[in-house]
Amino acid sequence: MNNGESEENVVIRVKDLKKYFELHVGMFKFWGEPIYVKAVDGISFDIKKGEVFGLVGESGCGKTTTGRLLTRLEDPTAGSILFHGKDIARLKGKGLKDYRRNVQMIFQDPYESLNPRFTVLKTVMEPLLIHGIGETYDERVEMVIKALEDAELKPAEEYLERFPHELSGGQRQRVAIARALVLRPQFIVADEPVSMLDVSIRAGVMNLMLDLREKYGIPYLFITHDIAVARYMSDRMAVMYLGKIVEMGETDEIIFNHLHPYTKALISAVPVPDPDHKHGRVEIKGEIPSPINLPPGCRFWPRCPYAQKGLCDVKDPPLVETKDGHYVACHFAKKFAAGEEVPEKEVATA
């Protein structure tokens, strides 16, 4: 997608990635057509070296599934994931294990993602054992200490023998970060890593992740529902709606010059910590539809104030570049970009 960019810099390239979950509802288990939930339905993006790529959207939009596909915790239905140019979408066995050494994940809930019976030492050392890294026990302990210090758990020796219940939420998430770092990964998927943390702790963990990016140049896929957090963390971001990317570009370009009506609604709905801020009303109707019965045409049209009958409810708009690096999936993107008036129309509701 990024023509003219140096190919070497691309760490992850996702092309037309799809994940359909098959649903078995009652007797349809045995008869008739299977029903699919189209969790991720044809998305494409690149993540470059040292870049934080934010993926935002409401619950059920497919952002977590995307993260799980990239770490291959889920098998894609179609499409490809190129890791340094090599397709890893269908890897199995040893090849997959090798890939996982390079790609790590940080999960949302540090209360659940750490084994309560493992000490910090054992938790962080386990990936080393799985991948057979380090010659001796002492060498591995050395690596664990280095990773804990990278995660700003200092002095690391004090934490080694502690259990998760002896740690605060922020410290737990730092242990999870150390566990991801110990393998020196080339790519990290962080799925809502700060949404369980309190404000006073959250900033520290976010700053830590940004510092590590500076230090090691590790790119992140940063998944979050919180647009303010996504803005703080990411260089570029993509907005997802019902399994598709509707808008993608430089972070502040998306925050301030968004073109897609959904992005506009999403951003105008974000509360701002300033009592003088007057924010615009959200002009979209209803709630996110079920991903089982997707509307025909553009997925957003039943809620969109600009939807046009005969166009939006028939044809699915492709993701097109409106200006350098800014992609929008809307029939009126060009018109919005040029500042032309697009009449608000009511079409028959779905």
């Binding site: 702790i201 529902h225 509360p271 300033d274």
Partner: protein, 347 residues
């Protein structure tokens, strides 16, 4: 002159646990007028929910209210009315369960929107029936009349009336939250206590619900206490706010005063740690350390171990509550000196 509705004075709620006491809420005082919205903000475990539930006296069985605490609602002191001196612990009072007088206030005069309204409805009863039941418990009207009122309420909060006979699982998260608001309004209360009313919702739904709450609050002229960890929700909704840290109210005042003329170091730190989609992107400042264990709170100011301005006195003596401007209070030894110096959101 607005009429005073609620006056909480020196409210202290402590929990008895095996290893001693948890000093969840200590000496909390604030006032609320009719038709006013107050935001009660703080991090998890700071005692904000205990404060909210302390008003309606809906506390766990190991909760004890300290002598001298007062919750005066419309001239009536709830603590005096519905608690008795504890037989086990001197200096504490225990809530009398199912107190008949108190039950006349709960839901009729003060209703609540519970945290995670998703799960507040009973899954085996129809949503409408649950609201009707609440009405019939408190008012002497027929079921048909109650159902009529539910229909009106549904229109008010924006749920299609034909959904009355649905079960909770047939509602989306936002609709359950709306139904919860309808239920809170069912008996025309004077005060609604909303505990994290939108925390589990997506931004677009959150925005709609907050808009709805603000509109209904104005229309019905009902007072509201919004308990939340999100300062931006308070900035949007509340006339005044109270900031809580480790069981103490550290700053109270109007929302504008607290955001623009911050007078307590904790609130300043909170604002600096909060990302925003407005303005420039600047590096956030984390607050070092973590909140204290409330079973063993630090002597002196509870924020002192994490405070960049702390001096010796802060570690030794509990700070007084200082009025830095009319109606603007800060519980800090250096409130006067820091007032005007602290970088609020504007700086």
């Amino acid at each position: 002159m607005a009429k005073e509705l609620l006056d909480v004075r020196n409210l202290s709620v402590h929990y008895k646990i095996l290893a001693g006491w948890v000093y969840a809420v200590d000496n909390v005082s604030f006032k609320l007028n009719r038709g006013e919205t107050m935001g009660l903000v703080g991090e998890s475990g700071c005692g904000k929910t205990t404060t909210g539930y302390g008003i309606t006296q809906l506390l766990a069985s190991n909760a004890y209210i300290k002598d001298g605490s007062k919750v005066i609602f419309d001239g009536k002191d709830f603590v005096e009315m519905s608690t008795e001196p504890s037989k086990k612990f001197s200096g504490y009072r225990k809530i009398i369960e199912y107190h008949p007088e108190m039950r006349k206030y709960r839901w009729k005069r003060i209703s609540m929107i519970f945290q995670g309204a998703m799960n507040a409805f009973n899954p085996v009863f129809k949503v409408g029936d649950q609201i009707i039941e609440a009405i019939l418990t408190h008012e002497d009207i027929t079921e048909e009349e109650a159902r009529k009122r539910v229909e009106e309420l549904y229109k008010l909060v924006g749920i299609p009336v034909d959904r009355i006979d649905n079960y909770p699982h047939e509602y989306s998260g936002g609709m359950k939250q709306r139904a919860m608001i309808a239920m809170a309004l069912a008996l025309n209360p004077d005060l609604i206590i909303a505990d994290e009313p939108t925390t589990a919702l997506d931004v677009v739904t959150q925005d709609k619900i907050l808009g709805e709450m603000a509109r209904l609050q104005k229309e019905k002229d009902v007072a509201m206490i919004i308990i939340t960890h999100d300062v931006s929700v308070v900035a949007e909704m509340a006339h005044k706010m109270a900031v809580m840290y480790a069981g103490h109210l550290v700053e109270t005042g109007t929302t504008r005063q607290i955001f623009k003329e911050t007078a307590h170091p904790y609130m300043e730190a909170l604002l600096k740690a909060f990302p925003s989609i407005k303005g420039e992107r600047k590096r956030l400042k984390a607050i070092p350390g973590s909140p204290p264990d409330l079973s063993n709170p630090p002597k002196g100011c509870r924020f002192a171990p994490r405070c960049p301005y702390a001096k010796d006195i802060c570690l030794e003596e509990e700070p007084p509550v200082v009025e830095v401007a009319p109606g603007h209070f800060s519980k800090c030894h250096f409130a006067e000196e820091l007032y005007g110096e602290l970088g609020g959101e504007a700086k």
